[in-house]
């Protein structure tokens, strides 16, 4: 089906089910329970999971397949965001032209940077991409303020000259982003006992694009082109000796992954029409590297998992304050309560970075293949058990 088969098809199916049911899966706790803090099923975060998933999937096409470690990928995401917001300002609030433009602009930008940076390999390549991205960030923050609105970030305003559409909505506000009239921020809430599940148009729009991106990524991984990229990773020199010029292949991979980043940037702006320069900073580039490695570089699903993992900590753990902690441990004797709160405080709220750092170290130390490796191990454990059970039953049969 769809030109993919076997495990890949299953994987795509699993991702599709997970993405479509995310509002349920991410909201496992009743909304007034103490655990509701850990619910992640609200539109903004779900959108972020999916969008950064797309970003990481695209990054993985370059890094996972060719081994070229770009440290400047956030620049493409940022450029994508700026293009999309400009499209909203000038053309229309429909997300389709905005996203198309972000992908194209990011692709062109990637072509330029890739063409130059890919003249070098290894760490020299990484530093070249880093340098380009940092230049983009520094300029966007200062000199390019007329285009980027600098520190504040590019926002919509009430006097945008929108060619197809109005500058001001009927209610006197800024019009909202939409897909042919379907508002991106519209959310339907479903109540089921104590649970509330939120279904956001924007989220489902992003989820569909994630599935498309994921599908394309599978096709690339399994194509002759993908094979060529892997060959570049395993031994570029040998490939060159066979008379093959690898540059067009790596450049194609670089541009494709740049376009993925542009798509992610365009989607970010479509969900929330703001484009900030920080999106291009090296920390943002570093983040996608971390997402990919954490999830499992070179695997199909790993980057998506890594993206979800990091965004979850950033958005959920940072919001747990000592007030919440006291509520959790409120039933305990006071001394114990305060002790537990004191310990837990280090890891949540303003200490969320610490938890993330520790988890980076633990995951990479004990799961060399990233989170995917963890999943495989658990899978093997379960299968191993069933196999053993099978063996047992097989052994016991003759005795019957």
């Amino acid at each position: 089906m769809l030109g993919i088969k076997g495990k890949d098809l299953t994987l795509l199916g699993v991702v599709a089910v997970l993405a479509l049911c995310a509002p349920f899966i991410l909201n496992p706790f009743p909304q007034d329970s103490a655990m509701a803090q850990f619910n992640a099923g609200y539109p903004d975060l779900m959108q972020r999971f999916v969008i950064f998933g797309i970003f990481a999937v695209g990054f993985n096409i370059l890094f996972g397949l060719t081994g070229y470690l770009s440290f400047g990928h956030a620049a493409f995401l940022g450029v994508g965001s700026y293009s999309a917001v400009w499209m909203f300002k000038l053309l229309s609030m429909n997300v389709i032209p905005a996203i198309i433009l972000s992908v194209i602009v990011a692709g062109l930008f990637a072509l330029l940077i890739g063409f130059i940076s890919l003249r070098r390999s290894g760490i020299y390549f990484s530093i070249l991409t880093l340098a380009f991205a940092q230049m983009s960030f520094n300029l966007a923050y200062s000199v390019l303020t007329p285009i980027t609105n600098g520190e504040t970030g590019l926002q919509l305003s009430l006097d945008d000259p929108r060619v197809l559409g109005t500058s001001v909505s009927d209610t006197g506000g800024i019009p909202v982003t939409n897909l042919f009239g379907l508002e991106m921020r519209e959310t339907t809430t479903m109540y089921f006992g104590d649970w509330a599940f939120q279904f956001s148009n924007g989220y489902y729009f992003c989820a569909v694009l994630l599935l498309v991106s994921f599908y394309i990524s599978i096709r690339i991984f399994r194509s002759p082109f993908g094979l060529m990229l892997r060959a570049v990773k395993s031994n570029q020199t040998r490939l060159n000796y066979t008379g093959l010029n690898t540059r067009p292949y790596t450049l194609a991979a670089f541009v494709i992954s740049g376009m993925y980043a542009g798509l992610a940037g365009g989607l970010l702006a479509s969900m929330d029409p703001l484009a900030g320069a920080e999106r291009m900073q090296w920390t943002a580039s570093g983040e996608v590297v971390l997402m990919t490695i954490l999830g499992g570089a070179g695997t199909l699903i790993g980057p998506v998992l890594g993206a979800g993992f990091i965004k979850y900590f950033e958005n959920i753990f940072s919001k747990i304050n000592d007030n919440v902690l006291h509520q959790w441990f409120g039933g305990l004797p006071e001394g114990l309560e305060n002790g537990l709160v004191w310990v837990a405080e280090h890891f949540v709220g303003s200490g969320w970075h610490l938890t993330l750092g520790l988890l980076f170290m633990l995951v990479v130390t004990f799961l060399p293949g990233g989170l995917v490796e963890g999943g495989t191990r658990i899978g093997r454990l379960i299968r191993g058990k069933t196999r053993r059970a099978d063996e047992k039953s097989a052994q016991s049969k003759p005795a019957e």
Binding site: G67, R119, S121, I127, L130, A297, G351, F360, M361
Partner: protein, 343 residues
Amino acid sequence: MEAILLQILNGLDKGSAYALIALGLTLIFGTLGVVNFAHGALFMIGAFCAVTVQKVLTLSKITLDPTKTDFLGNPAQIKTPYVESWFGPDIGAALIDWSVPLAILFAIPIMLLIGVIMERGLIKHFYRRPHADQILVTFGLAIVLQELIKHYFGANQIATPAPDAFRGSFDFGAMLGMDPNVVIYPYWRLVYFAFAAVIIGAVFAFLQFTTFGMVVRAGMADRETVGLLGINIDKRFTIMFGLAAAVAGMAGVMYAPINSPNYHIGMDFLVLSFVVVVVGGMGSLPGAVLAGFLLGILESFASMNEIKSIIPGIDQIIIYLAAIIILLTRPRGLMGRKGVMEE
């Protein structure tokens, strides 16, 4: 002319900071083949050694002064540092004044220890792992170290002044027969420059003239063969890691008076020091030092008004622009060796 002279001085000073950090980073790159994203954190911990020493020296006995009131209207607390009550006000005050240079003595063993623990406890397990894994684990470590420091010292910068003797600046212009106040440079920055030169020289001499250094250099060139010769290269590499940590730490201590440190100071330097190392060329110590000074001087020149008025914003990007140009014209940076970190 004066302006150029001034910016060369500035560039040398900035460059010495870059070179010191890049030196340690290259030692780890070159000897161990590890991409150490926690190197900035080591620099930061060094700076906090200075903070700690200052805090310890200013630990105070609290007495109440009924003539003054504090912010709540209670009698004001008068703090007398213990060192002043033990050694007398003069020596005590001098000790506090000289807390940053004193911190060097404290920082060396601490940083060596931290380096050795890091290498034995963590980095050792990552020698044979892909660079990507090394980045993830050292970045995680950097975050953890940063957060610990933030938790105990806060996020705000902490003033760690240089000794009073080094306050003010030296008038080079007057010495060279120019007008006074034209080419001046702060004493402490000159000290920093001299200090950096000594450390860099010492590291080179150590690698060049000792047997230990010879083995390490051989290990950098071909680790396997050295191992086959029956030399315990691992133990030496551990020591090298400790040494690199100590260099970063001392750079941090001495830098504390120039910019009041906070927990983030290492991250600010991290990216820059990677650029410096790579521009210098992977695996080359002289390259790292050269690149450090070169980029420092370029950065200083780019911040001159005359240049900024021609190309606005050039000081924002000069380091990266220079890095791109150098890497495109010299494939392995200034003095890089073939085959190091090129895959």
